[in-house]
């Protein structure tokens, strides 16, 4: 069991000719947490991950794993496990043989190969040629490949893509186990927030190659609020203000209260003699927020940048 290392990306930029794929991107991925790396297709996620893994040369900037660049790692497979695309298999080679090829390159024995086939649930297909694998099987094989060297850092590019709901649930539990129980550093990319919302601890959102939002998943939608409907919202707002809670009246006469203490709100309404027609906590719609964050152009994104 290898404990995770910090993955640090700083000032990372990649230009392809005149096109800026990644634009001075900086963030840190912490051990023992699952970080979601989000952005629409074409935002520069895969290019960033490939630069982190030494496959693509950055125009400028650095990526370090525990202070070292990927290419300098003494034992790359034992330090960082990567699943880039679920299509990186020779169609004529069996899943087991694919793992054996990779294991040999990392000086890892065949016993570990069989262990991982078991762990990722593909022993039945181990000797089937990978060309006949379903998308879900490919994802599992890619994950098995990433885990070969029992690395402390996992970098997974769209690992839920093509998984059925049961597979996604399995993946979620598996990643939780690896991060919470084993302390691994996990970076998971996705173009769908809802796909990873229940899995990740932190999020890094990029659009057009630049950072637009970074921080704990729980803070993404801002602090939760309460919604109240009553006969005289202005009067209740006043009463709540007297109790030290801010409330704003909405267009439909609903009151948004900057507190989730429903008891306090109900009691305040009662002592003000106002009937409560509706009272509940509410969260911002993070999917909507994600869309608004990533749809804006780069300049908008930069001004909205917040660092947690």
């Amino acid at each position: 069991m290898t404990v995770g290392a910090r993955l640090e990306i700083s000032g990372l930029t990649k230009r392809f000719g005149g096109f800026v794929a990644v634009d001075s991107l900086s963030f840190v991925v912490e051990p023992g947490r699952i970080t979601g790396f989000l952005g629409p297709n074409g935002a520069g996620k895969t290019t960033t991950l490939r630069m982190a893994l030494g496959l693509v040369r950055p125009t400028s900037g650095t990526v370090t794993i525990d202070g070292q660049a990927y290419a300098e790692l003494a034992d790359p497979l034992g330090s960082v496990g990567a699943a880039l695309e679920a299509t990186n298999f020779h169609p004529g080679r069996s899943g087991r043989d694919h793992l054996r090829v990779m294991a040999a390159a990392g000086g890892i024995g065949d016993r570990r190969v069989d262990e991982l086939l078991e762990l990722t649930g593909i022993p039945a297909f181990a000797r089937t040629r990978a060309g006949n694998y379903s998308m879900g099987m490919r994802q599992r094989l890619a994950l098995a490949t990433a885990l070969l060297g029992d690395p402390g850092v996992l970098i997974l590019d769209e690992p839920a893509n093509g998984l059925d709901p049961e597979g996604i649930r399995w993946l979620r539990g598996f990643l939780r186990h690896l991060s919470a129980d084993q302390g691994k550093t996990i970076l998971v990319s996705s173009h769908l927030l809802q796909e990873v919302a229940q899995t990740v601890d932190d999020v890094v959102i990029i659009a057009n190659g630049a950072l637009v939002r970074e921080g704990p998943m729980a803070d993404l939608g801002g602090a939760p609020t309460a919604l109240v409907r009553t006969r005289d919202p202005a009067a209740l707002a006043e009463a709540l203000a007297a109790a030290g809670v801010t409330a704003t009246v909405g267009l439909d006469g609903e009151l948004t209260v900057a507190s989730t203490d429903l008891t306090l709100i109900g009691d305040t309404a009662l002592s003000a003699g106002l009937p409560v027609w509706e009272l509940r906590t509410q969260r911002a719609d993070i999917e909507e927020l994600f869309l608004s964050l990533t749809e804006g152009n780069r300049n908008t994104g930069a001004t909205e940048r917040t660092v947690a």
Binding site: T47, V56, Y70, G92, R93, R100, A105, G106
Partner: protein, 267 residues
């Protein structure tokens, strides 16, 4: 490094290509030595006396030609293996995994070179088992000397080297021409069609005939194994000159290929 070489060998032996190639190498070795064994011991091919249109050669050259008759097919198969060993990595993007396991790319590519030399030598042995067994029997039955000189043994050993070097030429071609199918067609086309035509064209041009044609890879290969000559006035390098020329081709093509692979982004 040994792990990287083992990984490259596993790559080769875990797809179906290897045994198809093995059958091809063995059969071509056996079939061509039978064919050459019969043709070159026919009337009109006496020691050194070239009849019109017939290949010329002494007993040693005849034996060499018989045993290495399948080499022309063999080295094309090695070229193919070299192209596929790198071409399929780009085609199926397994090159990402290869460089993730071995991010020091020069070392990883040198492991590929070593693995291809091992594969080339192994297939060379297989080819020789076929060609020497069938060829020696054929020569004996035709009343020719099956082992006229120890030079024949040298030729056999060198043919192993030749196959390894052609695999490296394939590696270079496979990198420089990114489309695997195009690389195969162009590689085989140049070695089998363009180069002989070029040699033919240069026969009318003294400088080219003497200073260019002998150094082309296929002609250098013929020099290494000292086979019979198709034309008495073609200029041929000594066996070691041919070996050096072929090594230069292999080093140049695979070297340029490796340089490109090391510096190119893997997307």
């Amino acid at each position: 490094m040994s792990g990287a070489v083992r990984s490259e060998l596993l790559k080769f032996f875990t797809t179906r290509l290897w045994w198809g190639m093995a059958i091809g190498v063995f059969l071509s070795g056996a079939a061509f030595s039978l064919l050459f064994g019969i043709l070159l011991t026919s009337e009109g091919v006496d020691a050194g006396a070239g009849m019109g249109g017939m290949p010329t050669g002494d007993a040693v050259q005849v034996a060499n030609s018989v045993y290495t008759g399948g080499l022309a097919v063999g080295y094309l198969l090695m070229l193919t293996i070299g192209v596929i060993q790198i071409g399929s990595e780009y085609r199926h993007s397994t090159i990402s995994g290869t460089f993730l396991a071995g991010p020091r790319r020069v070392r990883t590519m040198l492991a590929k070179v070593l693995a291809l030399l091992v594969i080339g030598t192994g297939y060379g042995l297989l080819s020789l088992i076929g060609s020497v067994a069938v060829g020696a029997i054929t020569l004996n039955l035709r009343g020719a000397d099956a082992f006229p000189s120890t030079e024949v043994v040298r030729t056999l050993a060198l043919s192993l080297l030749v196959l390894g070097l052609w695999a490296l030429i394939g590696l270079g071609v496979g990198i420089l021409i990114p489309n695997q199918v195009a690389a195969l067609l162009i590689g085989v086309g140049v070695a089998w069609i363009v180069e002989p035509l070029l040699g033919l064209a240069m026969s009318a041009w003294d400088f080219g005939r003497e200073h260019i044609a002998p150094y082309l890879p296929s002609e250098a290969t013929n020099a290494v194994v000292n086979a019979v000559q198709n034309s008495p006035d073609s200029v041929r390098l000594s066996w070691w000159g041919g070996a050096l020329a072929l090594i230069a081709w292999a080093a140049a093509l695979s070297g340029v290929g490796i340089w490109r692979t090391v510096h190119r982004d893997v997307t």
